[in-house]
Symmetry: D2
Subunit: 428 residues, 4 copies
C-alpha cells in the first residue's frame, strides 16, 4: 500500500501545497534587502532574485504553456531568455556567470512576476476539468519540487555570498545557544549480503532519476549510526589530514593543494581558534554537530584516514530501509539554518534525514533501464549523469516534505558550498 492517509480533495490539497511552497520561498527572502538579492559570488551560485524569477519561469514555461491554461499571457517576452537555466530545447540563455549583472528587472518587478504566475496557476487550478488536472498534476508537482530545490539553493548561495563580505553579515541572528554536547559514540549497524531492491516505488512524487526500481547485489557491509561530527573531524585535522597525500585521491590532492584547503569551507582561524561562518554569522563550534561543507575529496580522505570508506548509494538506501520522513506543520521551510548537535539518544533511532547531505562513493549514473523523457524536461536530470557523485539524506535546509529514501542529489566532487557531510561505511 502506498499511502495510509485518508482521501482528501486532491485539487484543494494541491492548491494548498502550491501556496505553501511558493510562500516558503518568499519567506526566505524576508531578511534580505534588494541588494542582497542581487549578489552572485561565483558561477555555481545564483542571485536570490534569479531563483525567484527562474522558479516562476519554470511554471510559465512548462505548465502555463499547456492548452488547459489557454488565455494566459506571457509576463515579459525577454524572461524566457533571462531566466531559462539550462534547457537547450527551450532556446538560448543569458550566461550563468553574469546573473548578478541583471539589476533590471528589479526585485519588485520579480515579485510582481511571481504574483502574475501565481494568479494564473490559481485560476487555472480552480477551472481545469478533473481530466485536465490529472494530466497536468505531474508537471505541477515537478514545478513544486523544483521550487523546493531552489529554496535550498537560495540559502546556500546567499551564505556563500555573505561569506565573501569582510563584515560577515548574518542572514538572521542565532537562536539561543543550546548547551554544548559531546560527540555521541559511533556504533555500526550491520547488513548482510544479498539481492536488494532500490529506487522509487511509484508511491508519490519522485524525480525520474530515482527509477526504475531494480535489483542490486550487495556484499555484507556496515554503516555508522550517525554522521561524522566536528569532533571527529578535528582529530583528522590534528593528525595532518590536509597534509598527507596518501589519504587523498589524486584529483583530490591536486584540489587540496591548488585551493590551499586546510579545513572545511567557512572555517576561519582567529587567534589560533577555529570559528565558522554560518547563516547566523560567525559562530563557535559544537563538536557534536555533523561536519558540513566538505567536498567529496575531503569526505573520502577522512573515511580513508578513519579506516573506513564512504557508502554506496545502494547501501545507504538499503540501510535507510522503511524510514520515512516525519512531517509536521513546518514541513515546507528549513528545519534549521545549521546542522544541530546530535544528542546521545539520537543513536537509538538514527535520523537518516535532515542533518547534512551525505556523500556516497557512487558516481551519479542512470539506473538500469533509465530513459530520460523526450523534450526539454528530459534535460532536468539525465544530462548531468557524468562527473558527479550522489548525495543522500537531505540537509537541515531541505524542507521535510521534499525528502524520501530514494532521493538522489548530486554534485561534482570539489563542491563545498552545499550542506554536505558524510557517514562512514565499511565492508565486512
Amino acid at each position: 500500500m502506498c499511502s495510509t492517509k485518508p482521501e482528501v480533495d486532491v485539487r484543494e490539497a494541491l492548491v494548498d501545497r502550491y501556496r505553501r511552497i511558493r510562500a516558503a520561498t518568499e519567506a526566505a527572502c524576508a531578511p534580505l534587502s534588494d541588494e542582497d538579492m542581487m549578489v552572485q559570488s561565483m558561477a555555481d551560485a545564483s542571485p536570490t532574485k534569479w531563483h525567484l524569477a527562474h522558479t516562476s519561469w519554470f511554471f510559465e514555461q512548462f505548465v502555463l504553456s499547456d492548452p488547459g491554461f489557454k488565455g494566459y499571457s506571457e509576463y515579459h517576452a525577454a524572461f524566457n531568455f533571462l531566466f531559462n537555466s539550462y534547457y537547450e530545447a527551450v532556446g538560448p540563455r543569458y550566461p550563468r556567470p553574469q546573473r548578478s549583472l541583471l539589476t533590471r528587472p528589479t526585485a519588485a518587478e520579480v515579485f510582481r512576476y511571481r504574483t502574475h504566475v501565481d494568479a494564473a496557476i490559481g485560476n487555472g487550478l480552480s477551472r481545469l476539468t478533473d481530466q485536465e488536472l490529472n494530466q497536468l498534476r505531474p508537471l505541477i508537482e515537478l514545478g513544486l519540487n523544483h521550487e523546493q530545490q531552489h529554496l535550498e539553493l537560495i540559502f546556500t548561495d546567499i551564505k556563500h555570498a555573505f561569506a565573501q563580505n569582510p563584515l560577515r553579515p548574518a542572514y538572521v541572528q542565532a537562536p539561543r545557544q543550546t548547551s554544548v554536547a559531546s560527540t555521541p559514540e559511533l556504533r555500526w549497524r550491520e547488513f548482510d549480503a544479498g539481492i536488494r531492491c532500490i529506487g522509487h516505488n511509484h508511491c508519490g512524487f519522485a524525480f525520474d532519476n530515482e527509477g526504475p526500481r531494480h535489483r542490486v547485489w550487495l556484499e555484507p557491509f556496515a554503516l555508522a549510526d550517525r554522521p561524522v561530527c566536528v569532533g571527529d573531524y578535528l582529530k583528522f585535522m590534528a593528525d595532518g589530514g590536509y597534509a598527507r597525500p596518501e589519504l587523498w585521491l589524486s584529483d583530490g590532492w591536486a584540489a587540496c593543494q591548488a585551493r590551499q584547503w586546510e579545513a572545511p569551507l567557512y572555517w576561519e582561524r582567529n587567534d589560533g581558534c577555529w570559528m565558522q561562518f554560518t547563516l547566523h554569522g560567525m559562530q563557535p563550534f559544537c563538536e557534536a554537530s555533523p561536519v558540513v561543507h566538505v567536498s567529496y575529496y575531503e569526505a573520502d580522505a577522512f573515511a580513508r584516514w578513519a579506516g573506513a570508506r564512504l557508502p554506496t548509494e545502494a547501501e545507504w538506501e538499503v540501510a535507510c530501509g522503511d524510514s520515512v520522513v516525519e512531517l509536521d506543520d513546518d514541513a515546507f521551510g528549513p528545519v534549521s539554518l545549521h546542522p544541530r548537535p546530535l544528542s546521545a539518544n539520537d543513536a537509538d533511532q538514527p535520523a537518516w534525514f535532515g542533518d547534512v547531505w551525505n556523500w556516497t562513493q557512487s558516481a551519479y549514473h542512470p539506473y538500469p533501464g533509465y530513459q530520460a523523457a523526450s523534450g526539454a524536461l528530459g534535460e532536468y536530470n539525465g544530462k548531468f549523469m557524468c562527473n558527479q557523485f550522489v548525495l543522500r539524506g537531505g540537509s537541515c535546509l531541505t524542507p521535510r516534505s521534499h525528502l524520501r529514501a530514494s532521493y538522489r542529489n548530486f554534485f561534482p566532487p570539489e563542491a563545498r558550498w552545499q550542506f554536505t557531510g558524510l557517514r562512514l561505511a565499511r565492508s565486512r
Copy 2:
C-alpha cells in the same frame, strides 16, 4: 596674472564648492535603484555605491585625519579596508574585482556615511583657523577633484553594466532629438616648429602629474580643428578598417582579433543597421557626432588609415594654447550624457574641451623633474606612469569646472569604456 576674478571669501567659496561637488555626485544617483548601484560588470569598473563610499573615505582618510579635525570619530572601522582603492601605504584592501559582492553596507548606509563625513567637513571648515584652512585647502581641493573624477566614472561604469543587460535599460530617457546634422568639413590648423612650454602654470588647482612646467621642442605640425566623427569612422569601417592588419599596431591587431572587434564599443548591428547603446538606451547614430568608445588601438589604426597620426600631448596642449573652459552655473554636472553633434560653425572656434577624451600618442610618463609626493598621496598619480597613454580635453561627462589645458588623463591602450575619441594630427 593668474586670475581676474574679484576677491571673494575663500572659506565661503570652498564650502560652496564642496557642497556643489558632493551634491553633483549624489544627483547622478537619482535615476538609479539600490540594485543598480550594486552592479560591477568588470574589474575595471566599480559599483556606484562603491564610488559613493570611496570618495567619502578619501576625505576621511586624508582630510579628517588632520589634527585640525580633532574629535572626528571614524564612521566604521572596516571602511578603511573596504573603500581604500589602491593606496598601499594605507594598508591592505578588499579585492577590486569583488566589489559587487558587498551587499552590505547597504546604499542607505553609504548615504549616511556621506552625511557623516559632510557634517564633519562642514563643521571643520567653519571652525578652522585661517592658517589651518590654508594648510588643508590643497588636500580638500584634491578631494574635490578626486570626487569629480569619480563622478565621471559613475556614468561610464553604469553604462558598461547596463550594456550587459539584454533589456538595455536607459539611465534616463533621451532628450528631444536634435535634427541630424551632416559632418562639418575638417580643416587643419598649422603650428610652427620651436621650443614651447607645457605643464601647469601654478594658477589654480592641478594634479601633480601636470608639472613641472617645462620646455619641449616641437617639429612643425598640424592639428584637425574637430574630432573624428561617426561619419568619418563609418568610412574607415566600410574600407575594411577592422580587417586590415597593416593599419594596426601588433598588440592592437592581437586585441582586435582576440576580442573580435568590428566597431567601437556599444555599437550593435540589428538587421544590418548599426545602433549604439547610450545612457539614453539604444539610439540611432548621428554622423556629425564625435566617435566615442574607441581604444587607443582603434584610434591609432584610424589615423593611419586617414594618412595622419595621433597628436602628442605636447602638440595638443600647445594647440589648445590659452583656451579656457567656459564655466556657467552647471559647471559641476555633466554637459550631456552623450557627445552632441558638431555644427558647421563650431569650426570657427574649435572646442577643445568636453566632447570626448582625445587619445594622444604620448605614453603617460613623468615630466622632467617630476617627483611624486611622499606618503600615500604620492600614489595618486605617479605609480601609474607605465603602460598607459595620455588623453586630453575631457568628455561630455566631465564637469566643466574640472577641466584645463594641462590636464592629463590616462588609460591603457585597450580601454574602451571611457568616453574616448580622437583628433587627427600630421607632421608638416
Copy 3:
C-alpha cells in the same frame, strides 16, 4: 585450473619475457630521431625519451632497491626527481607539463640508463635464490606490465605530437592497402538477468584494481557483436550528431562547443573530403574500420543517437566470458598501428580484444572490498578512482600478451588521443 601450459623453467621464462618486453619498447623508437623523442604536445602526453627513462626508473625504484639486489648503484642522483611520474611517497617530481624541456639527459644517455638497469636486473635474476625470486617476481611482473602500458603511450603520444606538425609526418609508411570492405552487419548477442561474477580470478598477473572478484546483479541486456565502425559514425555525423544538444550529456555538449568538435580527433576535411591522420600519415577512411579517437562524450552521444547505450564494465566482462587472447610470437609489439577493417566473417567469432579500447558507462571506482597496497605502489591505481571511465578490450596498439578479460583501463571522459572507440549495448 589456472593454466594448462607445461611447466617450464620460471626463471628462464621471466628473463626471456623481460628481454622481449624491454626490446619491444626500444623497437618502437627505431623510426624516431632524437628530436622526435623530445616532443611533448600536451600535458597529458610525454616525450618518448621520458617514457624510456621512466620505465627504467620504475625498475630502479621498486625492484633494484630490494635487498636482493644489494650492490646496485643508482645511475644518477637526479633521475628520481626527473623520472618519477606521480608517486607522492617517493618524493617531489619534475612538473609533468615541462617534460619536453629536458634536453638533457640526451636520448643517448637514456639508452645507456636502460642498459645499466637491464644489466643489473639480468645479473640479479641469475643470482637470486629461488625464494628471493619468488618474492620479487610480482614486482618484476608489475614493472613489465607497466612497461607495456608505456609502450602503448609512446605510440599515442608521438601520434598526437606529429599531428600538430603541418608536415603531418608518418611514423612509418603505410603497409600495402587492403581492399576496402563494407561495414559488416551489426548483430546483438543477448544475455539473461542474474548474479554474475567479475574481477580477476588469481590466475596469472593482474593489476590490483581488477579485484577482488565479486558478485554483481545484471538485468537482461544485449551487446553488439562488433564495435561501431566509421561507416556507422559517418551516419551519426550526417544526421547532425555534433549539432544536437539533446544527444549529449551536459558536460559533453559544453566540451563539444568549447573545443569545436565536429568529428573524432585526427579527422580533417580537405576539399570537402574527410581524411584522417594516422601513424602512417594522412590516410583515407575505410568504413569497415572501428571508429577510434572518440571521447566518452562522443561515444555516449553516438549510442543515444543509435537508440542504444554504452555497456557497463560488468556487462562487457560477462559477455567476454571465457574468451582469451590468442598469443603468437608477436605478442609483445602492437598488432597494427591503426585498427584494421572488420571483415564479414569476424562476426562469427566476435573479437573482444585488440581493435579499440571500448568506453563503458562505468565510472572507474573500487570494487567492493578493494584495498590499495600500502606505500608508493598503492598509488599505482587506487588514487585515480575518480572522474574517469573504465575502458575494456585493448586496442591494436596494446601488446597481446598484456590483455585479459578483467583488464580495466581508465581515462577521463574528454580524452580522445588514446585509441578509444565503442561497442553498443541495450537493456532488454
Copy 4:
C-alpha cells in the same frame, strides 16, 4: 664625413660580411645537440633550430624573391608557413608558442636549408650587376642585421631553457675565473640643458626606427659613468627592495607579487647563499659585474630607491655622443657569455656598449616624422611601437659589429630573460 675607411671592393666586403655573420650563427650551435636545438621554454623564446631556419627564410622571402635572383627555387613549400615570424603581409603562420613541436624538419635538414640559401645568395652576389647589387644591398644588410639580432636571441633563449632543467647544464664551461674585483666607485657625468639632435645620421646601416634624425630639448641631467653592479643591487635587496611597494610602479608591484620576484632572474639561493645560473652553469657572483636580467620594473624601482631615475633614450644617446664601438676580428660573435666585472680604470673611459642592455624610461614610440615602409618589411619595427620600453647600449652577447649610438632595442617592461640592466640618471 661618414667614414674614414679606405675604399674597398664593396661586393667583396659584402660577401665576406655575409659569410662571417652566417658562420657566427652556426658557431653558436656547436655546443648544442639536436635535442637542445628543439627546446622552447616559453612563448617569448624560440628553439635554436627555428632561429636557424627563420633567418634563412628571411633571405629567401625578402632577397631571393627579387628578380635579380631569378631561377632560384624555393627550398620547401611549407617553410613560408613554418618560419614566418610575424609578417602579416606574407600570410598565415605556424603558432609561435608551438615551435617546439616541430621535430621535423630535423636540425640536419635545417642546416641543408641554410646551405641552399647561402649558395643562392653567394651565386647571386657574384652575378648581379652593380646596379642590381646597389638596389639589393639595403635588403641584404637588413637580412644580416636581422641575423645578428637572432644570434643574440639564440643565446638568451637557450639560457632560459637550460635554466628550467634541474641539471642546470652549461652551454660551455666557464673560462678561467678572473680575480674578483670590488665595485668601482660611481661618478656622475653632467650635461647641460639645450637643444640636441638624436637619431641616425645616414652613415652606414640603421634600422628604420632610428630615424628621422631630429631635435629634442633636454633639461640639465647627469648620467652615471658605469652600470649598476651586483654589489649595488645586493644593497637594494638587503634594504627590502622587493618588499616595499612605495618603490615600485603599480604594474611593477603587481608583477613582483604575482610572480614572486625576490631577485633578478636566474638568481638562486642555495643554503642561504646567492648563486646565479649563467651560460657557464651555476656560478658565484662578482659584485663588480653589471647586474643583469632585471625587468624595467626592477630597474625603475632600484633607481627610485637610489634617489635617481632611469635616463631617457635621448639622454643616453646624447651622453654617448661620438663614442663608437671598437671593432676587432671578433666583431661577429659575442664578446663574452656573461657581463664581465668592471675594473676601476674603466671609469676613465666609460664603456657605453657591450655590457648589458640599459633600460631607459622612454616608451618605444616613433620619432617625429617616422613612416614605416610599405609592404611586409614595414612590419619589421613600426608595428611594435606600443607597450615597450627602449633599451640602449647592447649586451656582452651582441656582436660588436651590430652596435651604434642610435640603436634602439625594445622589450616589454616585464621581460627579464634578455641581458638587461641599467645605468642611473638624475635631473639637476
